[in-house]
C-alpha cells in the first residue's frame, strides 16, 4: 500500500515538475540580462494553444507541435522585447499587459477556431529499453516521456552557456551593469532581445508540454497560475538554474502528491486541495526569504531600462 503510493507519487513528479522547470529556466535567461519578465503566464498559454493547433493541423506529430509552441511563444515575445528594450516601457506594466494580451488572444482564437476541448493524443512513454522493467525504480526514472529526459540536458546546456562561456558572461554583464557592458562594446539591446526570445521559447515549451503532454487538451486559461509560480520559483532559486530545477522538483512533488493523497481515500474538500499549489508557493517563498541572506543574487540592473548616454 505504502509502496504503491510512493512509486505512484514519485513516478508522477517529473511530468508535473517539467513545466515549472522549463518556464523558470526561460525566465532566468531573460532576467539574467536585466529584463524583469512577468510574461510567463501569458506565453505559456501561447505555447499551449499553438501546440494544440499545430498538433491538429500537422497530423499529430507531438515533437513538431512542441517546436511550434516554442517558436510561437518566441515570436509573441518580440512584442514584449520591443516594449521593454526599445521603447523602455515599465517592465512590470509591460509584462502584465503581455499576460492579459495573451490570455485574451488565446481565449479568443481558441474558441473561435474551435480548438477548445479538442483532445490530442499526447506524448507516450519513452521507455529506456529494459531499464524500464526494473521494479519500482524503472517506473520512476526510466519510463517518463521524452521531454522529461531532455530537460536535464537543456538545463546543463543553459547553465554551461550562462556560466562557462563568453556569451553567458556578456549576458550577465548586461544584466548586472549595462553601462559598463556598453562601454566595453557589448550591444546591450541585442543581448537583451536575444535573451527574451530564447527564454520565451523555453516558456513556450513549458506551455506546450502542459497542453500536449500533460492535459492532452486545450481550454482557456489552462495554465492556472503556473506562470506566476514559475516567477516565484526564479526568485526562490536566486536566478541559479540548478536551484530552479530543484525548486521545480519540490513544487512538482507537492502538486503530484495531491491526487495521490486524494486517491488513498482521505477526504478533503476539492477547493482546498486546489489552493495548495499557491499556498505552498507562498510558504516556500517565506522560507526562502527567511533563510536567504544573499539578496545580492538578484541581477543588478533587473527591471531597469537601459538608456545609452543617460547619466544616472
Amino acid at each position: 500500500m505504502t509502496m504503491t503510493f510512493l512509486t505512484g507519487w514519485l513516478a508522477s513528479v517529473p511530468s508535473v515538475a517539467v513545466p515549472y522547470a522549463l518556464a523558470a529556466l526561460g525566465l532566468i535567461i531573460s532576467e539574467r540580462s536585466g529584463v524583469l519578465s512577468l510574461t510567463a503566464e501569458g506565453l505559456m498559454l501561447v505555447g499551449a494553444l499553438s501546440g494544440v493547433a499545430a498538433h491538429i493541423f500537422l497530423g499529430g506529430h507531438e515533437l513538431i507541435a512542441l517546436v511550434v509552441a516554442m517558436v510561437s511563444a518566441s515570436v509573441v515575445s518580440i512584442l514584449f522585447g520591443i516594449l521593454v528594450v526599445v521603447l523602455r516601457v515599465n517592465q512590470v506594466i509591460a509584462g502584465l499587459a503581455m499576460v492579459f494580451f495573451c490570455q485574451g488572444l488565446t481565449n479568443l482564437i481558441g474558441s473561435v477556431a474551435g480548438w477548445t476541448n479538442h483532445a490530442v493524443a499526447g506524448l507516450g512513454q519513452f521507455r529506456l529499453g529494459s531499464l524500464a522493467d526494473i521494479p519500482i525504480l524503472g517506473r520512476i526514472i526510466f519510463a517518463q516521456d521524452l521531454v522529461v529526459y531532455l530537460t536535464i540536458p537543456i538545463f546543463a546546456l543553459c547553465w554551461w552557456i550562462l556560466t562557462r562561456t563568453n556569451v553567458g558572461l556578456r549576458l550577465r554583464a548586461v544584466g548586472e551593469n549595462p553601462e559598463a557592458a556598453d562601454a566595453v562594446g557589448i550591444n546591450v539591446v541585442n543581448y537583451r532581445f536575444a535573451a527574451i526570445m530564447i527564454g520565451s521559447a523555453l516558456v513556450g515549451l513549458a506551455g506546450g508540454y502542459l497542453s500536449i503532454v500533460s492535459t492532452k487538451i486545450w481550454y482557456p486559461e489552462m495554465t492556472g497560475g503556473r506562470g506566476w509560480i514559475a516567477v516565484a520559483l526564479v526568485i526562490f532559486a536566486r536566478w541559479q538554474p540548478w536551484r530552479a530545477l530543484g525548486g521545480a522538483i519540490l513544487f512538482g512533488g507537492i502538486e503530484a502528491g495531491i491526487p495521490q493523497i486524494a486517491a488513498t481515500g482521505l477526504h478533503v474538500n476539492q477547493y482546498f486541495v486546489l489552493m495548495t499549489p499557491y499556498a505552498a508557493t507562498l510558504a516556500v517563498m517565506i522560507w526562502g526569504g527567511r533563510s536567504m541572506a544573499d539578496v545580492a543574487a538578484e541581477p543588478g540592473a533587473l527591471g531597469q531600462p537601459f538608456v545609452r548616454e543617460e547619466r544616472r
Partner: protein, 324 residues
C-alpha cells in the same frame, strides 16, 4: 490615441465579424438608453478598482490582488447578510464596513509577507487571488449554495440589503464611487499624506532621509487600496447581482491596473478612464450576446490599449532623428 481604438476594432473585425456589422453595433449600443444605463452601472465598481490600484501604485506597491480583495469584500458582505447581523436599517453600512475590513486584511497578508519575509508583493498578491477564488468556489458550491435552485450562488439579498436605485440608471453605488473619487482626490492632491505619497513615489530613500513617515504613508495607501477593492466587490454584489455569485469579480483586476495606469494614478482622471472601460465592457457584452464572441475580446482590447499607450509615451518623450 485614436489609433489604439482603431487597432482594437480592426482586430475584432479581422478576427470574427465583418467591419460593417461592428460599425453598426457601436452606434446601436451607445445610442440605446438601456445600454447607457448598463454603462453607468459598470462605471461604479470600475472607478473603485481604478482608485484602489492608483493609491497602491502611488506608493509603488504593486497591488495585483484586486480580484482577491473584491472576492473577500463580497464574501464578508454576504456573510453579514446570511447571518442577519445588525438591524435592517444598519445592514448596508455594516456590509460595507465588513467588506472594507475583510479586503484590507487580505492585502495585509501581502504587506506582512513583504515587510517580514521579503516576499515580493507582485507574487504574493497574485497567488492570493487564486486562493481567494478557490475559497469563493468552495463557498458557493458548498455551504452557501443556493438552497432553492442549487446554482453556484447564494440566495438573494433582502430588499434592504441592496443598494437602491436613486433614479433610472443612477445607482447608489455610483454615488458612493463619486464620494470616493472626491475623497481620494483630496487625499492625493490636497492632504499632507498625499504630499508624502508623492515624495515616496518619487524617491523612497530620500523621503526616509528627510523625515517623511514612509512606512505610515505606505501602509495607509495600501490598506485604503485593499478596502476600496473590497467595497468594489461589495457594490457589485449589492447593486448589480444582489447576491454572491461564482464569477462576479471577473475582469476587474486587470481593468483596475489599466485604469490607474492610463489615468496616471490621478483620481479625477480615473473617473474618465473608468467610463471608457465601462463602455468597452458593455460593448463586449453585446458582442457576446449577438455574435457569440467570447468576453475575452474586452481583455484583449484593454491589453492592446495599454501596450499602445505605453509605447506612445516613448514617442512623446523622445524625438527620433534618423541619421543617414
Amino acid at each position: 490615441v485614436a489609433s489604439l481604438l482603431a487597432s482594437g476594432i480592426i482586430l475584432a473585425a479581422a478576427g470574427v465579424s465583418p467591419q460593417a456589422l461592428l460599425l453598426e453595433l457601436i452606434p446601436e449600443t451607445l445610442g440605446n438608453s438601456q445600454s447607457l444605463q448598463s454603462i453607468l452601472i459598470e462605471v461604479a465598481p470600475l472607478i473603485m478598482v481604478g482608485l484602489s490600484a492608483s493609491l497602491a501604485f502611488k506608493v509603488r506597491f504593486w497591488n495585483l490582488g484586486i480580484e482577491g480583495q473584491m472576492i473577500w469584500g463580497g464574501i464578508a458582505a454576504t456573510a453579514i447578510s446570511l447571518h442577519h447581523v445588525g438591524p435592517p436599517s444598519l445592514r448596508l453600512p455594516l456590509m460595507l464596513a465588513a467588506a472594507a475590513f475583510a479586503a484590507a486584511s487580505w492585502i495585509g497578508i501581502s504587506v506582512v509577507l513583504k515587510a517580514r519575509y521579503r516576499v515580493d508583493e507582485i507574487i504574493s498578491t497574485l497567488l492570493l487571488n487564486y486562493i481567494a477564488i478557490n475559497f469563493l468556489h468552495y463557498l458557493v458550491f458548498g455551504p452557501w449554495v443556493n438552497p432553492v435552485d442549487g446554482m453556484p450562488h447564494t440566495s438573494q439579498y433582502a430588499e434592504y440589503e441592496r443598494l437602491p436605485q436613486l433614479a433610472p440608471g443612477l445607482d447608489a453605488s455610483l454615488l458612493i464611487a463619486m464620494l470616493f473619487v472626491v475623497g481620494a482626490a483630496w487625499l492625493v492632491h490636497l492632504s499632507r499624506a498625499g504630499g508624502y505619497m508623492r515624495f515616496v513615489h518619487a524617491n523612497r530613500r530620500m523621503a526616509q532621509f528627510v523625515g517623511v513617515p514612509v512606512a505610515g504613508v505606505t501602509l495607509l495607501a495600501v490598506f485604503l487600496s485593499g478596502a476600496l477593492s473590497g467595497i468594489a466587490g461589495y457594490s457589485i454584489c449589492a447593486a448589480t447581482e444582489g447576491r454572491l455569485t461564482e464569477g462576479f469579480y471577473g475582469g476587474y483586476g486587470f481593468s483596475g491596473v489599466l485604469i490607474a495606469f492610463l489615468a496616471g494614478n490621478r483620481p479625477i482622471a480615473v473617473t474618465l478612464v473608468a467610463v471608457f472601460v465601462a463602455t468597452l465592457f458593455v460593448l463586449g457584452q453585446s458582442l457576446q450576446i449577438f455574435y457569440q464572441i467570447p468576453f475575452a475580446i474586452v481583455q484583449l482590447v484593454q491589453a492592446i490599449v495599454v501596450i499602445f499607450v505605453a509605447a506612445s509615451e516613448f514617442w512623446i518623450r523622445h524625438r527620433v532623428r534618423w541619421s543617414s
